[in-house]
Amino acid sequence: VSTRRSFLRGAVVGAGLAATAGTVAASAAEDDSVPFHGTHQSGITRVPPAQSIVASFDIIADNKTELTDLMKAITDRARFLTAGGAPAPLGITAPPADSGVLGPVVPNGDLSVVVGLGASLFDDRYGLAKQKPAKLKPMTMFPNDALDPAQCHGDLSLTLAAKDTDTVLHGLRDIARATRGGMQLRWKLNGFASQPRPEGTPRNLMGFKDGISNPAGPEIDRLVWTPDGGSYQVIRLIRMLVEFWDRVSLAEQENMFGRRRDSGAPLDGVNETDVPRFAEDPIGTAIPLTSHIRRANPRTPDTDSSRILRRAVNYDRGVDVNGNLDMGLIFICYQQDLERQFETVQQRLADEPLADYISPFGGGYFFALPGITGPEDHYGRALLA
C-alpha cells in the first residue's frame, strides 16, 4: 500500500467516491423502454444511458396551492416527454409549444425522469415540516469536501437520462419553461456514461471500471425502496484531479482502487465479476485494507445492510483557473436510509488513499418520490394531500 502522500492528509479525510457494493454483479435490466407509470420512478433502477442531466431547483411558489400546481406541471411535462408525441399545434395563439430540438414529433420511450425533494422544502413555507420524509436531511459536509454553496442542496432534484444529449437538453428546457414562476434552477451538471472499454462495466475518468457490483433483483427491495415506494437519493459532484492521477504509477492506482485497471478484476481475481475474497486475505497482501473496494464494501454480514445502488456518471465541463481540466464524477446513489447506507460507507472511506485525487464540491441529499401510479397521479400527491 502506498502511503507516500499520507503526510498530506493529516488526521482523517473523507472521500466521496463511489462505494463498490454487492455480491451480485448483474445490474438491472438493460431494456430500453422506460415506463413512466409505476410503483417506483423507473429512472432509479435504469442503468445510466449515455447522457444525463442532474439539476437542482429552488421552489419559489407562493403557497401550497401553487406548489401543488407546480408538481402537477412537472408531472404533466414528464409524462409527455417520456411518452413522446406531437406537441399541440397552437396555430396563431402562441409561439410553438415545443422547442423543436427533437424534431416535429418527440420520440417516445428513451427519456427517464427522476424527481427528488430536498430537506429545505420541508420548512415553514408550505406547511410541510411534519411531512418531511423520516430520514431526509441536508447533505453532510465530510472532512475532505470543498463544497461550493451555490452548487449544493436545493428544494428539488431533477435527473434526466437518455441515449442522446439532445433528448435530455430538450427535456430540461421543456420542464423549465413550464415551471418558471414556480421554481428556478440552482445548479446543474451534464453527465455521460462511457461505452464499455472494451467490454463490461463502463469506466470513469480515472480509467477504472466504476459500478461493477450493485444490488440487484430482490436485494433492491431491502436496500433501495422506502415503504412508500420512494428512495433516498445522494448526489455528489466530485472533481477528479486527472492530471495528478495520470502521474501516479499503475500499481499505486490499482492498490488504491483494489482492482486491475485493464480488466476491472479485483486484485485477487481474473474477471471484473469475480468476488473479492477479503476473508482469505485478512492483512491485505493481495487487496490492500485501505483500497476503495475493501473500505466501501467489506462484504461481511455486518456491512451488507449498508450497500447502495450506484448510478454514477462522468462529467466534463471546461478548464480550471490553473489550466487543469474540470472533469470528474456525478456520483448518484439510491438507498433506504442515508445514514445506515451512504454515510456509513463514507465513514469507512474516510482515510482511503484515493481521497487525495478527488475533490467533492457539490450535490445534495434528496428524497426520490414514489412512482406515478397512473394518469391521475402526480409527484408529491401523498405529501400535498
Binding site: 399541440a88 399545434p89 397552437l90 396563431i92 402562441a94 418558471r180 414562476g181 414556480g182
Partner: protein, 349 residues
C-alpha cells in the same frame, strides 16, 4: 393554392390531429389560413408559401366548419370550399386575426402615450444637464436616476428607437475601448462618470449631448409612426430586455439601479398592454394570468425600493429574493410571449 382556387384537395374531413400538405401552384407567394368561414377565426397558418413549394400545416380539428383562405401577394383573398368535421371533440376556441385596421386605434393611443413620455424625458434630461453643470455630484446622481427612468418607462426595447437609442442608452457592448471609448455616450456614460468620481466639469459635455439626443428623439418620434408589428413585439420584448440586461446587472455602470429600471420597464409593458387590451380580451384567455404576474413582479420589485428612496443593487439581493425576481420576470415573459403571436397584424382580404 393557385390564383383561382384554394384548398381544393381536402376531400375527407376528419377530427383530431391532422397534417395538411399545402402546395402553391400559383405564380406568386401566398399566405394560407385554415379558418372557420362563418367567424373568420384562424386555426392554422402558413406564411410565405413560395411558388411551387409544399409545406405541412399541423392542426387539431374539432367539430365544426372549416375552409382554407388563400392570400396571394397583391391579390384579394380566396376562400375555398367548406368542409364539415363531425364525430370529434368540441373545437377549442380559436383566435380571430388582428388586422392592421384593428391596430389603428391602439397605435394612435400608444403614440400619444409615448409622446407624453418624451415630454417628461426632455424635461428631465434638461434638468439633469443643468444639475451636472452646477457641479453637485449627489444631486446629479438623483437627477440622473429620474431622467433615466423616464426613458426606461418608454419601453425602448430592441431598437424601438433606432440609432438614437444607442446614443441615449447604449452600453460598452461592441466598443473596443470600453468605458473610455469615444462611442460610449448617453445615460450609461454619464452614470459611469457620476459613480466613478470623474471630474464633474468633464461630465457637462456628456450631459449636454444626452439632452440634445433626447430632444432629437422627441423630434423624430413626432415625425414617425409606430409600426403595426411593434405593439405585439414590445409587449414581451421590454421584459425580455429586463431579464437579459437588468436582472444580470450587465447594464450597471455604477449606480446599482437595475431594479429601478426593471420597475420602470413594468410601467412600459403595462402601457403597451393597456392599448392592446380591447383586442386581447376576446383573444387571449390567459390575460388575467399576465395581470397577476405583472402585479406580483411589480410588488417584488417594489420590495427592493428602500425607504430612503434608493434601490437595492442586484448583487446585494439575497439568493432567495433574487431567485424570486428572476422567476417573476421569467414567468411574466412566458405569459407575454403569446401576445406577440396574437397581435401580429394579419390580412383577411
Amino acid at each position: 393554392v393557385s390564383r383561382s382556387s384554394c384548398g381544393t384537395g381536402w376531400t375527407d374531413p376528419n377530427p383530431g390531429p391532422q397534417t395538411f400538405r399545402l402546395r402553391n401552384d400559383g405564380s406568386v407567394t401566398a399566405e394560407v389560413d385554415l379558418i372557420d368561414p362563418a367567424t373568420g377565426v384562424i386555426y392554422g397558418e402558413v406564411e410565405g408559401l413560395g411558388v411551387g413549394t409544399t409545406r405541412p400545416l399541423q392542426v387539431t380539428l374539432g367539430n365544426g366548419e372549416y375552409a382554407f383562405r388563400c392570400l396571394p401577394e397583391d391579390t384579394g383573398a380566396i376562400v375555398g370550399p367548406k368542409s364539415t368535421v363531425t364525430g370529434g371533440a368540441e373545437r377549442s376556441p380559436g383566435v380571430a386575426p388582428v388586422t392592421r385596421n384593428d391596430l389603428l386605434g391602439p397605435l394612435k393611443t400608444y403614440q400619444q402615450h409615448v409622446t407624453e413620455g418624451l415630454v417628461d424625458l426632455v424635461t428631465n434630461t434638461a434638468k439633469l444637464k443643468d444639475t451636472v453643470r452646477s457641479g453637485n455630484r449627489q444631486t446629479s446622481q438623483t437627477a440622473w436616476l429620474t431622467a433615466h427612468l423616464s426613458y426606461e418607462r418608454l419601453g425602448a426595447a430592441y431598437d424601438a428607437f433606432g440609432d438614437l437609442d444607442g446614443s441615449i442608452n447604449g452600453t460598452t457592448d461592441g466598443l473596443p475601448g470600453g468605458t473610455a471609448d469615444e462611442g460610449f455616450t448617453g445615460f450609461h456614460r454619464l452614470e459611469y462618470g457620476l459613480w466613478h468620481n470623474e471630474d464633474m466639469s468633464a461630465l457637462g459635455a456628456v450631459a449636454d449631448q444626452l439632452d440634445a439626443n433626447a430632444h432629437q428623439l422627441q423630434q423624430s418620434f413626432g415625425d414617425s409612426q409606430v409600426d403595426g408589428n411593434d405593439l405585439g413585439l414590445r409587449s414581451h420584448e421590454i421584459m425580455e430586455n429586463t431579464l437579459q440586461f437588468e436582472l444580470t446587472a450587465r447594464t450597471d455602470f455604477g449606480s446599482g439601479t437595475n431594479l429601478a429600471t426593471a420597475r420602470a420597464n413594468i410601467d412600459g409593458t403595462r402601457a403597451v398592454l393597456e392599448v392592446l387590451r380591447p383586442l386581447l380580451q376576446p383573444r387571449y384567455p390567459a390575460l388575467s394570468t399576465v395581470d397577476k404576474w405583472l402585479d406580483r413582479t411589480q410588488a417584488d420589485l417594489d420590495g427592493t425600493h428602500k425607504p430612503d428612496g434608493t434601490w437595492t443593487p442586484v448583487a446585494q439581493l439575497d439568493a432567495k429574493q433574487r431567485q424570486k425576481i428572476n422567476g417573476d420576470v421569467s414567468e411574466l415573459t412566458e405569459q407575454l410571449a403569446p401576445i406577440a403571436a396574437i397581435a401580429e397584424p394579419r390580412r383577411v382580404s
